[in-house]
């Protein structure tokens, strides 16, 4: 960031007086125009220069949901499909708040504003049409989606609605949900949880739960436990973090997080595997565990079990064996329940993790499939995807986890590639890589 811009932001009062080093680094990396709260400046000669005009495709794709998968597929359909391929992105929110990195808002290392994005670049640079609203129904036979009392016809539909949460006993009302936020979709609940942590007394108790796998962002809950513990050590001495994990053991990076819980954050994190949440009393601040124990805490952060976005259930597309997710042809992401409808990201039942980085890659595979389809070409028979994520372990260190997947024609599934998996230890270098990863990833999806 140059001095002029720094002064400009300061003059607007947009920059806090004291910025955490990570927040400052991110502000330097990130295009301000990507964020929802900042002005957008597009050079007059720039519009649509990236969209080829000489491709022989005519058609329309409607995309439901502007998260990591939806934004990426919209961009790449235009970039790879050209100006004759109309892309309509339907989104109910005014901005997108990145869940990636959002645990760092809880420790005041980042602001929610620094994680807030919009779709203006996709509209201005790629000619994606944004429709504000919520799709209420899908008509697969008539090839149209319903919203705002009207309907939009499509040639191909991409549904990327993210996750829906299971109800939790005791958290039926909006007031109770505000009192016990999951903060597992970054946004207002993240801010509520941050304030609750800030109001904790020294020697307090933060209790969180890990949902039953599969859930969004496998390392995320363990990362949160580490970040909150690290923060409480400094800000609220003698406090404890109780982690109830419905799974029988830590689901990913087991050695790394075991070390983090037992050594790095020893005496702060109390990890209890195989223990779920039976019910919550929001007013009393207690949870009843699956083994019948009552635990009282200053802050309760129950992360519910998860399933595919509601619109998929409504449309009859949650056809996995357990009825929670959408089964897809893993070569094309086309629903096995409806022709012409692709399901991307967290809602799809594949062996790939539910996370933003790999959702971006699934979106590129899907965009390629759809473009080829309009050209009368078969899908690439050997797609590869990759998952990568960095997890802060302390305020100064982060670890990483990565896995690459390839299509296996025998099982017709995207399977991990032998040798293409790994994890890296908590280090300062990985913390530095984390912010570069985030800047490039968000730019690849939203700009």
């Amino acid at each position: 960031m140059n001095n002029n811009r720094r002064r400009f932001l300061a003059a607007l009062g947009a920059a806090p007086l004291i910025m955490h080093p990570l927040a400052r680094a991110l502000a330097d990396d990130m295009p301000a125009s990507l964020r929802g709260t900042k002005p957008v400046w597009i050079p007059a000669n720039a519009p649509l220069s990236r969209v080829p005009t000489n491709l022989p495709i005519q058609g329309r794709v409607v995309v439901i949901g502007g998260g990591m998968a939806g934004a990426t597929v919209a961009k790449y359909l235009r970039l790879w499909g050209g100006s004759g391929l109309q892309v309509i992105l339907v989104e109910r929110e005014r901005t997108y708040v990145s869940s990636i990195m959002s645990n760092l808002v809880l420790s005041d290392a980042l602001t929610i504003e620094s994680l807030t994005f919009n779709w203006k670049r996709l509209m201005d640079r790629y000619g994606v049409k944004l429709v504000a609203g919520e799709v209420t129904a899908i008509d697969p036979a008539g090839k149209r989606v319903m919203l705002n009392g009207s309907s939009i016809p499509y040639d191909r539909l991409v549904v990327a609605p993210g996750i829906e949460f299971d109800p939790v006993a005791g958290l039926e009302t909006a007031a109770a949900q505000d009192r016990v936020p999951h903060a597992w979709k970054a946004g207002a609940q993240t801010t509520i949880l941050r304030k609750q942590i800030a109001a904790m007394p020294g020697g307090g108790v933060f209790l969180m739960s890990v949902p039953k796998a599969p859930y969004r962002c496998p390392p995320g809950p363990y990362e949160r436990a580490c970040i909150v513990a690290d923060h409480l050590k400094r800000a609220k001495p003698r406090s404890k973090v109780i982690v109830l994990d419905e799974n029988p053991a830590i689901t990913v990076e087991k050695d790394l997080f075991t070390h983090a819980f037992n050594v790095v954050h020893a005496g702060v994190i109390d990890y209890r595997p195989g223990v779920g949440v039976q019910s919550v009393d929001a007013a009393a601040g207690t949870v009843k565990t699956s083994s019948g124990e009552m635990i009282k805490a200053n802050v309760l952060n129950v992360i519910p079990n998860q399933r595919a976005g509601a619109i998929l259930k409504e449309a009859g597309l949650t056809n996995s064996t357990d009825g929670r997710w959408s089964t897809v042809n893993e070569l094309t992401y086309e629903s096995t329940a409806a022709e012409g409808i692709h399901v991307l990201g967290d809602s799809a039942a594949t062996m790939q993790p539910k996370a933003g980085h790999i959702a971006n890659q699934e979106a590129k595979v899907c965009a390629d499939v759809i473009v080829r389809g309009f050209l009368g070409l078969a899908p690439d028979p050997a797609p590869v995807t990759n998952s990568a994520c960095y997890s802060p372990i302390t305020a100064k260190t982060a670890s990483w986890l990565t896995a690459l997947y390839a299509y296996d024609p025998a099982s017709k599934r995207m399977k991990p590639i032998a040798g293409g998996m790994g994890e890296g230890p908590a280090s300062a270098r990985n913390m530095e890589e984390m912010r570069q990863w985030f800047s490039n990833l968000m730019t690849d999806s939203y700009a």
Binding site: V371, D380, W400, T443
Partner: protein, 106 residues
Amino acid sequence: MKARFSIVLVLGLIPLACVAQTAGAPPPGRLLASNCFQCHGTNGNAVSGFESLAGMSADKFAKEMRELKTDDDAGIMKPHAKAYTDAQLREIGRYFASQPRTRADR
């Protein structure tokens, strides 16, 4: 003798490749290469930190990736390098070599 055989083979493939190429068809290597875009930028033009790959010679790309397969200091790049066959790495390298290097694209 061996050289002449290779030339005949290559010349024999060119017309086939031309016939098979539909207008607007995805260029070879693009989808595989897009796995690098999350960290190295769309089409290999990174906005910060990580190396831009656009315009890098295909040979250099493939050689560096082959070396990363056994480099214990390569961090997250080691599993990424190991996941691809040498043929895939050459294809990805050719795609990035064909891409223009642009100013950090924000």
